[in-house]
């Protein structure tokens, strides 16, 4: 990896971050606008002793990374909307079987095959509820090439720490954009690894959680007693129909993330101290929000920005605090209103909420945000 200032693409930064985080297995089915992630992984993984497999489809890709992760390899797949839909079933499998892995979705226009080369943010709700049943979700949304590098590492760290799939929810704007970056030295990075069992091989129970609600994880095949299933299971991993086992498992899965929210949730805010109006956006749209804010500040208007870095879990507490004094929130997104539902749920009637929505395959432009704000005033 070159260390000086360089021009790098978002998708390329994702692979650099993944390899720095320890990714040693990638299975995927290339799809625009995520293709470069597969392409560059295929080139780079063999150089670090890793494996790349192009699978027959997205469902198999998701299955393959679950299997590889169970044997101890940090694993990732990358896709876009149509593939993300196909991965939902196995995302649920990774959730209930608590297998760490990273799923990248570089969002493009939908539904279905939609607009292959154009940006969108239509999977904010799918990322949260795409797979059935109650399950926790961590989804990270980078808004620059450098942050794509950083958040890919964080996605692996959170997956390893909490034993669950983590979604890197990118969009075409960030995935395909190239910008000047200076990446940190590998030695400066914090890398997390899954908790290993502290008991003998025959005393090991793969789903017996510690006090932090996270079960230590042995590598499948190295001799620990092990059973993995998508069915509700007890601490041994074997299926169970018991209502108390089911209740305990599903609640623990949710509480595992709920009780560690403060460790997981991240956001960025700018100029919110005196803001009457706050623009809420993620990913590529945040770049337009930043410009819009500067244009309006230059006119003397008190405008700030709020950018969830973890769109799931959503930075709910902080948004509630802001709603105590901010008069208007403007939620800008490349869909017809998804994140705004979460903002409305959190803010209720404490502040006015305005929407900026776009689904024509183009990025949201700063002027589209300023126009809505100037209407408010």
């Amino acid at each position: 990896m070159k260390r000086k200032a360089q021009l790098m693409q978002g998708n390329e930064a994702c692979v650099e971050g993944a390899i720095a985080a320890g990714m040693r297995f990638f299975a995927g089915y290339p799809i625009t606008p995520s293709t470069e992630i597969a392409e560059i992984s295929a080139e780079k993984l063999p150089c670090v002793g890793g494996k790349f497999i192009q699978m027959e489809d997205e469902i198999a890709s998701m299955a393959a990374i679950i299997g590889a992760s169970l044997t101890g390899l940090k694993s990732m797949t990358a896709t876009s909307g149509p593939g993300f839909s196909l991965k939902q079933e196995n995302l649920g499998y990774a959730s209930i079987s608590e297998v760490p892995c990273v799923v990248v979705n570089v969002q493009r226009g939908g539904p279905s095959t939609g607009l292959p080369t154009s940006p969108a943010q239509g999977e904010i709700m799918q990322a949260r509820w795409g797979t059935h049943g109650d399950h926790p979700v961590i989804a990270l949304t980078p808004s620059s090439v450098k942050e794509t590098f950083e958040l890919t590492i964080r996605a692996f760290n959170l997956a390893e720490k909490y034993r669950m799939p983590v979604i890197l929810l990118m969009d075409e704007v960030i995935g395909h954009m190239r910008e000047r970056v200076e990446l940190p030295e590998i030695s400066e990075l914090e890398i997390a690894n899954r908790k290993r069992p502290g008991v003998s091989k025959d005393a090991y129970k793969p789903y017996k959680a510690d006090e932090d609600l996270i079960p230590p994880m042995a590598n499948f095949g190295e001799g620990y007693r092990y059973h993995v299933t998508g069915l509700v299971h007890d601490e041994t991993g074997f299926p169970s129909n018991s209502s108390s086992v089911a209740d305990k498992l599903v609640r623990r899965l949710m509480d595992k993330i709920e009780t560690h929210k403060d460790d997981i949730i991240q956001w960025e805010e700018q100029n919110t101290e005196d803001a009457d109006i706050v623009i809420v956006s993620i990913g590529g749209v945040s770049r337009a929000s930043d410009t819009a804010m500067k244009m309006l500040r230059a006119k003397g208007l008190k405008v700030g920005t709020f950018r969830p870095i973890t769109v799931w879990p959503f930075p709910e507490k902080r948004l509630q605090e802001l709603a105590e004094r901010v008069k208007t929130f403007v939620v800008a997104e490349m869909n017809l209103g998804q994140m705004v539902l979460e903002v409305e749920r959190i803010i209720k009637d404490k502040a006015e909420i305005k929407r900026v929505n776009k689904v024509n395959g183009e990025a949201v432009y700063p002027e589209e945000i300023t126009a809505v704000i100037e209407e408010v005033l």
């Binding site: 021009l7 190239r178 910008e179 000047r180």
Partner: protein
């Protein structure tokens, strides 16, 4: 703040996205900030394609071109599709084959494709000839940085060919200025 927005357009396959990458890399070599984005259809060849580059001495928030300072077009289709919204004092550079008109802007019409295809004899260097013309006319990056960036990106064994394409483009640009 010193900020310039550049749009390169043509037909898919002419290498304009690579030209955008090279231009952005040259700006970084010059010590500036740069962002490159692109827009293209699902087809690999043909269709209108554009690459956009923003070069600035400061942080670049919004990465797409809104006030185009420099517009390059190598085909009629891309000129018609992307040639709107050029700044009043912006510069337009077109290939000879493009029938171009603009009330507000200075237009430079240069035989870029003809030079690549018939003079150099390699259609593939059309993007490098175009970069030479553009940089000679605008000085948006230094000539040295441009050459370094070109040589960093082109396939091994084609360095001399690309250097020649760059020089011929640059000379045509200088000439067009007169």
């Amino acid at each position: 703040m010193d900020k310039h927005e550049i749009r390169l357009s043509g037909s898919g396959g002419q290498g304009l996205i690579l030209a955008g990458i090279i231009l952005a890399e040259a700006a970084i070599i010059d010590g500036k900030n740069a962002v490159q984005t692109q827009s293209y259809g699902p087809e690999a060849r043909g269709g209108a394609s554009k690459a956009e580059v923003i070069i600035s001495t400061e942080k670049i928030d919004f990465p797409k071109v809104r006030n185009c300072d420099i517009f390059l077009s190598l085909t009629q289709k891309s000129f018609d599709q992307y040639g709107k919204g050029i700044k009043e004092d912006g510069i337009i550079i077109v290939d000879h084959i493009v029938n171009s008109q603009s009330a507000n802007n200075k237009i430079y019409s240069v035989p870029i494709i003809d030079t690549a295809v018939n003079v150099i004899g390699k259609p593939m260097v059309v993007n490098i000839v175009a970069l030479g013309v553009l940089v000679a006319l605008t000085q948006i990056v230094s000539k040295e940085a441009l050459e370094e960036a070109v040589l960093d990106r082109v396939p091994k064994g084609t360095e001399e060919l690309n250097k020649k394409a760059l020089e011929m483009g640059y000379a045509m640009g200088e000439n067009a200025k007169k």
